[in-house]
């Protein structure tokens, strides 16, 4: 068996373990699915009148507008949960056993990220299904589905890279868990939940440059209007930027972890 195939098998096995781990522990799955779904329902019901505000982009309803935000929240928390699980593995010595195994070290991180990406994929399908069940239309048609799935899955993996880097650097689950509020801050300071133009300063100014806003718009655009190549390209570039940051940080943190043990 070639080296590449062997590594792919390791990544696949570790990714499957990561997914099973998440679905077996309510503490890990709840932030990814339960809380974003609950918040989607509450915000749609509570702030649904916002679509009547002057300056609100033309949408079929607030649920349609909010779907991208719910997906973003879910994938961000999937990245955070992946980091927590990796830190637990480090605390319990499981990662040390993997380091001693005859497998490439990067496969250990890639395995975790593959699991996070799969959870992102699941989240995208989950929220698209919820939207369709409760009457949201996909304005640009079926093409909105693959765009949302690709962007959500890729962003989950990219954000997971940052979570993994922090887990590898600190080796502490409680530190990674402590980032949970930060995830919410970053989300609130993007256009995930409201149009940028209607947000209050300074949130509006920050949201304008927040890379997550570009990703959100890339997911949202095909749902609420037609596909715009420029918006999708910006979203893709934002994902690549986050992924590059996660990659660099993970590589450095992995070297640090191998040094300190």
């Amino acid at each position: 068996m070639s080296e590449l195939r062997k590594t792919a098998r390791v990544v696949g096995a570790l990714g499957m373990r990561s997914i099973r781990q998440t679905f077996r522990r309510p503490q890990l799955i709840a932030p990814i699915l339960v809380f974003p779904t609950l918040l989607l329902a509450i915000q749609t019901g509570g702030a649904g009148g916002a679509v009547n505000l002057p300056g609100f982009p033309p949408v079929q309803g607030f649920l349609q507008f909010m779907l991208a935000g719910a997906m973003m929240q879910s994938l961000m928390l999937a990245g955070n949960s992946g980091g927590i699980a990796l830190a637990v593995d480090i605390e319990m010595g499981f990662t040390d056993r993997l380091f001693a195994a005859p497998i490439p070290r990067y496969a250990i991180v890639l395995g975790r990220l593959a699991g996070t990406a799969a959870l992102g994929l699941f989240a995208a399908i989950w929220f698209l299904a919820i939207g369709l069940i409760f009457g949201a239309e996909l304005h640009s048609g079926v093409v909105a589905v693959p765009i949302a799935i690709v962007l959500v899955t890729a962003t989950a993996m990219a954000v997971g890279g940052i979570g993994a880097a922090i887990a590898l650097r600190t080796g502490s689950a409680s530190v990674v868990q402590g980032l949970f509020p930060l995830v919410l801050v970053v989300l609130f300071l993007s256009s995930a939940f409201f149009p940028n133009g209607l947000m209050i300063q300074p949130a509006r100014a920050i949201a304008e440059y927040n890379p997550l806003s570009f990703v959100v718009e890339g997911i949202r655009d095909p749902i609420v209007s037609s596909v715009d190549a420029g918006t999708e390209l910006e979203a893709l570039l934002a994902v690549l930027g986050i992924a590059a940051l996660g990659l660099v940080l993970s590589a450095r943190a992995l070297r640090h972890r191998l040094r300190v043990g």
Partner: protein, 263 residues
């Protein structure tokens, strides 16, 4: 020891409750980080909701002044919900580590053990409430007046007790910290399916129907009244009745679970 043996039952019970509350306080002093999520989460929600949904006040029918004043009581109650649910998580942790077994073999009545947990949560909930309030006032929320402030704090303390009863009942039922998401999600649903984001008339029909029957809507209204205008008895008593009812129901449930818990 002789003095302790001759202590009247009610005094011994009070001493036990005080000791359990002191244990919760010590935990807070010795692990300051433990209080941070409970304080940060409602604060971030307050800042986030205010920054994102602040423009809702421009809607026809939203006749309150600033959104900060409208949302701050919700964030204070949310902090109470988080703190109460955390009491349940801590109880589950204590069960996993065997500490609760030791309490159960003590001569203290079950309701006393529960009261210690619940009252500690009530007292602890004042920390996030005060933190959020200070930030809201700095950002321009209206001063609720002494009477409005006292009512808001009363609602926060009682809501934390309700949440602690809910969390404790679930902890005693599942005996595992894995039930934590259920404790938190339950409280989140209870507090946010009210007039949390907008007045009743502006809610979507399904949420309006839920908010109308959700007793916590009365609690939110009572806590909010001082921030939006004058404090009246007609806005206060429904909140008091709602919290009393919730405390009776959830308190009875958690006590039942406590009595069913064998060593």
């Amino acid at each position: 020891m002789e003095g302790a043996a001759t202590l009247p039952a009610w005094r011994a019970n009070l001493a036990t409750i005080a000791a359990l509350m002191a244990r919760a306080r010590n935990e807070l002093l010795r692990v300051p980080g433990a209080a941070i999520p409970g304080v940060l989460a409602p604060t971030i929600f307050f800042l986030g909701i205010n920054g994102v949904f602040g423009a809702l006040t421009q809607l026809h029918g939203f006749d309150t002044g600033t959104y900060e004043s409208f949302v701050v009581p919700v964030s204070m109650l949310q902090g109470a919900g988080f703190t109460g649910a955390a009491a349940g998580v801590n109880l589950a942790r204590d069960m996993e580590q065997g500490w609760v077994d030791r309490l159960l073999v003590s001569p203290a009545p079950r309701w006393v053990l529960l009261a210690g947990t619940v009252l500690a949560a009530s007292a602890r909930a004042l920390i996030p409430a005060t933190f959020v309030l200070a930030i809201a006032l700095a950002l321009g929320a209206g001063w609720p007046g002494i009477d409005g402030l006292l009512i808001a704090y009363l609602m926060v303390a009682a809501m934390a007790a309700v949440a602690a009863c809910w969390g404790s009942a679930l902890a005693l039922r599942f005996k595992s910290q894995s039930a934590a998401p259920l404790m938190q999600a339950g409280m989140m649903a209870l507090i946010f399916t009210t007039t949390a984001y907008a007045p009743l008339a502006l809610l979507q029909p399904w949420l309006r129907s839920v908010a109308e029957v959700n007793p916590v809507t009365r609690v939110v209204d009572a806590a909010r009244q001082g921030f939006l205008g004058a404090v009246t008895w007609s806005e206060t008593w429904p909140g008091v009745v709602a919290l009393t009812g919730l405390l009776i129901v959830l308190g009875a449930w958690s006590l039942r679970e406590m009595r069913r818990t064998a060593v």
